[in-house]
């Protein structure tokens, strides 16, 4: 079990040593039981850090911000940033390294074990508590969460309120770290692609009806894109204007911006946006599920990524985010990649 005091102590130590710029971690929200991202600069603030099953966020998203900020600074502080990562998040770090977006020496990785469980699905928990307000949620003995609600403590089997992606997780322990807290607890999902198989088993028209209903809801707030640590492009296919403008860019070059997708939330545009997003993340998505969690309209966008994760595994034996030295899915091939679909 992760001893929270150890995490705070380690955080305090590295901040005091002055070798770390700041720590990206979790802290308790003043409202409700969910945690929120914390950015800790001062050693005395290390006390604020927390680690519990409400730490759903994939904080590696903030490494992207850090890189952008640093690029703008005239005299950048080149010290590494420390980051608290779960198993899944650590794989995002691996992909960022693989894509040379960050350097290993720029990040100090504080891994935390998911204790063989994972993080909660806030909606499932709300339903479970039937209107009662949870104040606190903690890891308990094996496979259980301990919830404090109105001063009362309730033990709930983790399986019942775990986020869906945690139920399908194959890496609930950090794969890369400088320091790790907690023990590695093996928990093999029975079926890592259960959520996908549910959709796959539908008929073609049922699948279409499902996705049509879901994607027609999209309001294109781009929270799914914005929350994703892999969506770090400076210019996105859905941006309305070219960001690649320099002093000498001509009007003609500016006109080169292609409108692949209109910003109207129409069916075709929503579909193409979500399909492009999925393809863009093929071989890069580590299934942190943040896109789906962030969606204000509950669109199961994660399933599109998960589908391609499944195909990458089955067709090309490719697994994302375990080896930063490996070539990416899209920049490699095997002579015997399947081609039975080709005429």
């Amino acid at each position: 079990m992760v001893n929270l005091e150890d995490l705070k102590k380690e955080a305090k130590r590295i901040l005091e040593e002055g070798k770390i710029k700041y720590i990206i971690g979790y802290e308790r929200s003043p409202n409700g039981m969910m945690s929120m991202p914390a950015f800790i600069k001062n050693p005395e603030d290390a006390e604020r850090l927390t680690w519990d099953p409400s730490c759903v966020y994939n904080l590696t998203r903030f490494l992207v911000d850090e890189k952008r900020r640093k690029a703008k600074e005239k005299k950048p502080d080149t010290r590494p940033v420390a980051i608290v990562v779960k198993g899944c998040d650590s794989r995002a770090v691996v992909v960022l390294l693989q894509e040379k977006f960050i350097n290993r020496e720029d990040v100090y990785i504080l891994g935390v074990s998911c204790e063989g469980a994972g993080v909660v699905d806030e909606k499932k928990l709300t339903e479970k508590l039937k209107g009662k307000k949870a104040d606190k949620i903690e890891f308990s003995e094996k496979d259980h969460f301990l919830i404090t609600s109105d001063g009362e403590k309730i033990k709930i089997p983790a399986q019942e309120i775990l986020a869906e992606r945690c139920l399908e997780c194959r890496a609930n322990f950090p794969v890369i770290y400088d320091e790790v807290l907690g023990e590695k607890v093996e928990r093999r999902p029975e079926d890592p692609f259960k959520s996908i198989e549910r959709i796959e088993s539908l008929s073609k028209e049922e699948r279409w009806a499902f996705w049509k209903e879901q994607l027609d809801k999209c309001i294109r707030c781009y929270a799914c894109r914005s929350v994703c640590p892999m969506c770090y492009c400076d210019e996105c296919v859905v941006d309305t204007i070219s960001f690649a403008v320099a002093a000498d860019t001509t009007a003609e070059e500016k006109a080169q911006k292609i409108k692949w997708i209109e910003r109207s939330p129409d069916s075709s545009e929503n579909f193409v946006y979500h399909l492009v997003r999925a393809i863009h993340l093929a071989g890069r998505c580590i299934d942190c599920g943040e896109c789906e969690r962030a969606c204000p309209l509950d669109i199961p966008v994660r399933l599109l990524n998960k589908k391609l994760e499944k195909e990458a595994k089955e067709l090309f034996d490719y697994e994302v985010g375990f080896d930063p030295e490996k070539p990416s899915l899209a920049s490699s091939f095997k002579d015997d990649d399947p081609e039975d679909f080709i005429r």
């Binding site: 929120m36 991202p37 707030c221 929270a223 929350v227 500016k254």
Partner: protein
């Protein structure tokens, strides 16, 4: 005009409104939203609040301004497209969302009337539903000149009294609607009025969240434009558009040409929602972006709502619906931010 409507008579009243297009909250999965209703029995007013406010009906996310094409002789053809003349009734509007429309009214009205907005707005009759329980744990309408039973912006306010609704018509439009279902309404008795008062009082007490001393905030914000405060606060912002797209008072938009075919030319000029939270919102074609980072964009959102809008329209551009707090993927809480603003430097 004040009336009582038995709950079982509600669908019958709605049925009388067949000349109107009817909107009401509808559930899709776990998500409530305002949708067009075909059968009066389908209306379910037992809901908390919708993800998107009824703003989306008056000010749709995409609106066609005009259509253009090349005719057979090669000359351009342009046709203006206006919203249909179609009177509508929106049921189940929460007081905060109704108040929000009075705020967008000032933006789309004033010196220049936005034809598209007003054509929909003028034809819409807003039937409100007072909040018994706060629809969201993050409701804070009381802090921003609102209340769970506010009548502002509504044509009719309904209050659930258990087996019946207390129905109060507030405008001519509202009266007309009640008259259409005249026979279903009863006159309120003293008990009804007493029940109403009790419920209104209780519902106010249930709202837990407050912005304290909100009056101090606008002048304080004025001093904080260049403060490093915004950098700190925006650290966790991910620059998505949730807070603004879900906000009932946000009203920014973009106008663009959607080309369906370049040969022969065929397309539409459309208005779509836009948000100050997207980096391309303020991006100039020169490449300069006056709001280049998350901090300046978060600041814009707060300042627009609690300084600029107040200066111009003497009102907060916020009705305390709590959507931006509940749906923020990283837990940014506008109440917390404003609390810190008020106490900043003290």
């Amino acid at each position: 005009m004040q009336k009582i409507l038995r709950k079982k008579s509600f669908p019958q009243w709605v049925k009388k409104l067949e000349s109107y297009k009817i909107y009401a909250p509808a559930k899709n999965g776990d998500v409530w939203n305002y949708e067009a209703v075909n059968h009066s029995e389908d209306i379910d007013l037992d809901y908390l609040n919708s993800v998107l406010s009824p703003k989306k009906i008056i000010f749709p996310q995409r609106e066609i301004f005009l259509e253009f094409s090349t005719s057979n002789d090669g000359n351009p053809e342009i046709n203006e497209v206006l919203p249909e003349e179609n009177p509508s009734v929106i049921f189940g509007v929460r007081p905060c969302d109704a108040k929000a429309l009075t705020l967008t009214d000032s933006v789309f009205g004033g010196d220049f009337d936005d034809l598209y907005y007003w054509r929909r707005r003028d034809q819409a009759i807003l039937v409100g539903l007072a909040c018994h329980n706060p629809p969201s744990p993050n409701c804070f309408c009381l802090s921003v000149n609102g209340s769970p039973h506010s009548k502002e912006g509504l044509d009719i306010l309904m209050t659930d009294l258990g087996d019946r609704y207390y129905v109060e018509s507030l405008t001519e439009k509202g009266n007309k609607l009640l008259n259409l279902g005249n026979k279903f309404f009863e006159e309120p008795k003293a008990k009804d009025k007493k029940d109403l008062e009790k419920i209104n009082l209780a519902s106010e007490k249930k709202i837990k969240r407050r912005i304290k001393e909100i009056k101090k905030i606008p002048p304080q914000l004025k001093e904080m434009f260049d403060s490093p405060f915004w950098d700190e606060e925006a650290m966790s912002c991910i620059r998505c558009g949730i807070c603004t797209y879900l906000c009932p008072t946000c009203h920014c938009f973009d106008i663009s040409d959607e080309v369906l075919s370049s040969s022969p030319i065929e397309g539409k000029r459309v208005r779509t929602w836009d948000t100050c939270q997207f980096p391309d919102f303020t991006m100039h074609s020169s490449g300069h972006n006056p709001r280049p980072d998350k901090a300046s964009r978060l600041r814009q959102r707060i300042l627009h709502k609690f300084q600029y809008f107040v200066e111009r329209y003497k009102n907060y551009q916020c009705t305390g619906c709590g959507r931006c707090i509940s749906k923020c993927p990283v837990g940014i809480d506008i109440i917390e931010v404003l609390d810190k603003v008020r106490d900043y430097g003290t």
